[in-house]
């Protein structure tokens, strides 16, 4: 796992000093080394977290004759098998790294190489002869890749702060990116919250050459037509899923030249991955967990149970609300985007714990909820669909009580709540039936936007994610449509970014996600929906597949979404001094995103209640505002602290064809 950056220049040679500044801002992603390549048209930079071939895999790296160069962030887990195939095609290798496989695969198969890769990546390839830059990002967006098309050329990087090393790049909020964040929880690629900064869509590659700039998908999220799924036998599918998850987990554990640890949340997904490692590899396992002083969020008893069962060396970190507030500005410096939950901040502390224990790779259960249908949003959608068939039926209305235990405990409150939340927009023909309640309840935050921003949003050309659903999706199972929306919005934009890559890489830790393995995802997408969500039983196939390795107590416990204290973290007596200043009328007006008087009202409510028992909407409002303000102060306001230039050690690769053409033979 590393940081990548680069420049393609339409005029003179790229500025090497700028490239080095860009690399300096990615030092946290790659503390083990750095390198660069420059010719008269392009420059590639790399900061390295050495995991595979730690002695020989320095980057940028080139092919046999130095005509194709690559800078790469991520892992190609099937690099051993691909390397063998490429050797049989006549390619010779100088290293044992997965990076070199990319160069030869590009030479051999061109753009088809990306669909052969099973991994997580952000890649930039530079073909000197064709003067062609190729960017590529993994299927579901595990690794980030941003770029800016400017008048002088193109800049790209793993993080926006690296692109902002160029003072000529504009720093301003993008109204549509903000609007998307306050609807879908994050911008949807290619949008970001910064005007002029784009992110390459997951599953895509982009080309910049003499014919201009263009993008195309090499892979798409797709599902079979309902009723025409190829694999109908549930028992066969249980075995096939198990086999794929074991192989995906094993690959992620053994394809590393440094020790690999595992997260253990106490839920099903990380219990499965940890159990697979413990049972199917011979290496001792070190597990790491997050705990909360607030019992509402804590899953400590399940973590301990699983760790004891597997005999892992286990460590956890106890997080309280003031820890979250203290670390929040640093977390936002890494998310580089507003967030509607405080949940990323504890994950920052967890990856710090991992790093302090000498680990730089962890396997986690991320992706299972999207790929195998674990989220409540999918169960809610099924209830809504059921209810929508006869909205007046009192029996059907009771279905909402099956979703959450508190509803069954408080039957008197159910009808009013259920009708107001789950009963809205009950249109069975709506392709986004699953997501309307979430999007509606999130969009309420927009009532606090400033008049100026509302005007800019209304004038902008917005992008409708529902309209972008693929042709044929109307024939998918409704669950599949919900999965598509979830993978396209929240998974790539928030889960894998703000809660994933950014919080891990902030402490130089690589995350590996078996449930997002190519073969697991392709298999799961082709399953009948009922094998994933069986009635209202979530992750049905996964539970059956690993019933022998995970205790019943964990398999049967109601799904507990990962949450952390939100507003309460910022209104405690010991809140940090910066918070009041950041939320002051003056600061709110300077950022121009929210209406100062509305924020003042919310702040008064928060102070009155200490942030306790605030509504879900108010919690999101507080988080949206504080994180937007931090994003503004860090990246847009003059003198922002997000752009600290870090000095890098001497590079291990320094190829500059502009000053010395003999550097590469």
């Amino acid at each position: 796992m590393c940081g990548v950056c680069g420049i393609v220049s339409y005029g003179g040679p790229p500025d090497l000093a700028l490239l080095r500044r860009m690399m300096g801002r990615l030092a946290h992603r790659g503390p083990d080394g750095n390198g660069y390549y420059r010719d008269r048209r392009a420059a590639l930079g790399h900061t390295r977290l050495a995991i595979i071939d730690t002695s020989g895999g320095a980057q940028p790296l080139c092919n046999e004759d130095g005509t194709v160069w690559v800078t790469f962030n991520g892992e190609i887990f099937n690099y051993v098998e691909l390397g063998e195939e490429l050797r049989n095609c006549g390619h010779s290798f100088r290293t044992a790294s997965d990076t070199e496989v990319i160069v030869h695969a590009w030479e051999e198969w061109g753009k088809e190489c990306f669909s052969r890769f099973n991994g997580q990546w952000a890649i930039a390839l530079w073909d000197r002869r064709a003067e062609r830059l190729v960017l590529s990002r993994d299927r579901l967006g595990v690794r980030p890749l941003f770029f800016a098309r400017v008048s002088t050329g193109l800049l790209f990087a793993s993080e926006v702060k690296s692109i902002f090393a160029d003072p000529s790049v504009e720093r301003a909020f993008d109204p549509v990116g903000l609007d998307q964040t306050l609807t879908y929880w994050s911008p949807v690629a290619p949008r970001t919250v910064f005007r002029g900064i784009e992110q390459l869509e997951p599953g895509h590659y982009a080309v910049l050459d003499r014919d201009g700039f263009r993008k195309a998908p090499y892979w798409r999220i797709t599902f079979p037509e309902r009723g025409r799924e190829p694999m109908q036998d549930v028992r066969e599918n249980v075995d096939a899923l198990r086999e794929r998850i074991i192989e995906a987990t094993r690959l992620r554990f053994v394809r590393s030249d440094v020790p690999v640890g595992a997260y253990l949340s106490g839920g099903l997904d990380s219990s499965v991955t940890a159990a697979v490692i413990a049972h199917y590899t011979s290496v001792p396992l070190h597990t790491f967990s997050l705990r909360f002083s607030d019992g509402e969020f804590d899953e400590g008893q399940y973590q301990k149970k699983m760790s004891a069962l597997l005999g892992t060396e286990h460590q956890d970190i106890m997080v309280n609300p003031s820890d979250i507030a203290a670390v929040f500005p640093e977390a936002v410096r890494h998310t580089e985007t507003p967030i509607l939950r405080a949940a990323p901040a504890p994950l920052f502390l967890l990856s710090k714990l991992v790093r302090e224990n000498g680990y730089k790779v962890v396997v986690t259960g991320e992706g299972a909820d999207e790929v195998l249908a674990g989220y409540d949003i999918f169960r809610e959608a099924r209830v809504r669909l059921f209810w929508s068939r006869d909205p007046e039926s009192a029996k059907r209305a009771r279905a909402a009580e099956l979703l959450y235990p508190w509803m069954a405990r408080s039957p008197g409150q159910v009808p009013a709540f259920a009708r107001s939340f789950f009963g809205r927009h009950l249109d069975p023909g709506d392709p986004a039936l699953s997501h309307r309640p979430r999007w509606d309840s999130t969009s309420v935050i927009k009532s606090m936007l400033s008049g100026g921003l509302r005007d800019r949003i209304s004038r902008a050309e917005t992008e409708d994610v529902v309209a972008a659903m693929p042709p044929g999706s109307e024939d998918w199972d409704p669950l599949s449509r919900g999965q598509w929306l979830e993978m396209t919005t929240l998974l790539a934009g928030y889960i894998l970014a703000s809660q994933g890559d950014r919080m891990l890489m902030a402490n130089s830790v690589e995350g590996r996600f078996p449930f997002l393995d190519r073969d697991v995802v392709d298999f799961a997408d082709a399953l009948p929906a009922r094998h994933k969500l069986f009635g209202l039983e979530e992750k049905y196939l996964l539970k059956r597949a690993f019933a022998d390795l995970v205790p019943k107590e964990i398999i049967q416990r109601p799904k507990q979404p990962y949450r952390a204290p939100d507003a309460a973290s910022f209104f405690a007596e010991d809140r940090p001094a910066w918070f009041d200043e950041l939320m002051s009328k003056r600061a709110i007006a300077a950022a121009g995103v929210f209406e100062p008087s509305a924020v003042a009202g919310l702040m008064a409510k928060g102070r009155r209640t200490g942030g306790e028992n605030m509504s879900n909407t108010d919690n999101m409002r507080v988080l949206a505002i504080v994180s937007t303000q931090l994003t503004y102060e860090t990246f847009i306001a003059e003198g922002g602290s997000g752009e600290l230039d870090q000095a890098l050690p001497d590079p291990s690769v320094a190829v500059d064809l502009v000053t010395d053409d003999r550097s590469v033979q």
Partner: protein, 69 residues
């Protein structure tokens, strides 16, 4: 849908059936599964513990629904 698959699904559901919840609510849970599996809409009278409690009653109900009776 293949009848064998439907039978298998009912057997699987039987293994998940909860006995500690309100029987009427459990009938709603069964109805959600049934409607999803068979792409039918049950009448309110069919969302009933007596109708959805055993496989033969469910089979009779489904047969009636498929015949449009």
């Amino acid at each position: 849908m293949n009848p064998e698959i439907i039978e298998q699904a009912f057997r699987d559901y039987g293994a998940l059936r909860r006995t500690d919840t309100d029987p009427e609510l459990e009938a709603v849970r069964a109805a959600i599964l049934l409607e999803d599996l068979l792409e039918v809409t049950l009448p309110d009278a069919g969302i009933d513990p007596a109708v959805l409690a055993d496989a033969s009653a469910v089979a009779a109900l489904v047969a009636r629904l498929w015949r449009g009776v």
